[in-house]
Symmetry: C2
Subunit: 160 residues, 2 copies
Amino acid sequence: MVSSISSLDRTDIAILRVLQAEGRISNVELSDRVHLSPPATLARVRRLEEEGYISGYAAMLNREKLGHDNLALIEIALELHQYERITEVLDQLVAMPEVLECYHVTGEYDYMIKVSTVNNRALDHFIAKRLIPLPGIARIHTSIVLKALKQTTELDLPEP
Amino acid sequence: MVSSISSLDRTDIAILRVLQAEGRISNVELSDRVHLSPPATLARVRRLEEEGYISGYAAMLNREKLGHDNLALIEIALELHQYERITEVLDQLVAMPEVLECYHVTGEYDYMIKVSTVNNRALDHFIAKRLIPLPGIARIHTSIVLKALKQTTELDLPEP
DNA sequence: GTTGAAATATATGACGT
DNA sequence: ACGTCATATATTTCAAC
């Protein structure tokens, strides 16, 4: 996709900055922050949603309080197969609820996934019973997260 | 932190599941989804927020449409120093807006960061002018994300 | 926990600029 | 494209059960 940021003005960027940090802020409060009337602010938010700049809203949960004590980053190397076989495997992989992120990456391995589970035992089960059995998995390398120092979805938005 | 999930019932989990996917859903709609009255639902949401199960709400933005064409996963090995020096470096690292995530990990490297920039040139600038100059950086290894196949913050919440 | 009612705040639409 | 005003909805609080 080509960047469409040039069609956004300073106020749009200001709105996105606020909503990234406070997704449930009221429209009145948001309009105050960006120095615009509530209707004008709401119209911009709707436009940003409809045009896909905002893909959705999410409650950010506390993983540890919710029993997810284990986070792992797993690199995956695939055997060379025909394209359709690979996309099949990837479809299965991204459908797994333990897999929060999946990236095709450069380097020694082909894919990197972020996996959140309740504990080491559940991670072991995920790797042994769900990941390894996928066809075409050549090699994996697991890094356990000992501590998360920063976790944000807030992008550093450029000025228009 | 020890898990506190045992103090949550089926309805709390249902609320969290909905809010993870639709963070800006109205209380009335949410109450309908979890088969509870609006006042009871709102009281639960407030409790989940106050007790820290919900850490906040965020608008999820479309990185590419907003000009962020480059995502990289960078492994970092630190030189062995006294603890205070390391925390200083980490404080600087997590304060950088390009760094979306930072994890202390097991393995050959010590830390893994996820970095979002507008393009390769900005990533190069980040690495050369901001990351490498930090004191105590022994070695880094960069993986460029060629494609993001899945990116979610939705945890697979266990049944109570 | 529910229901229902009332006060407040918010979102939405019409209109004028 | 924005602001103001008016209306429609939603939210919040309270009371009674």
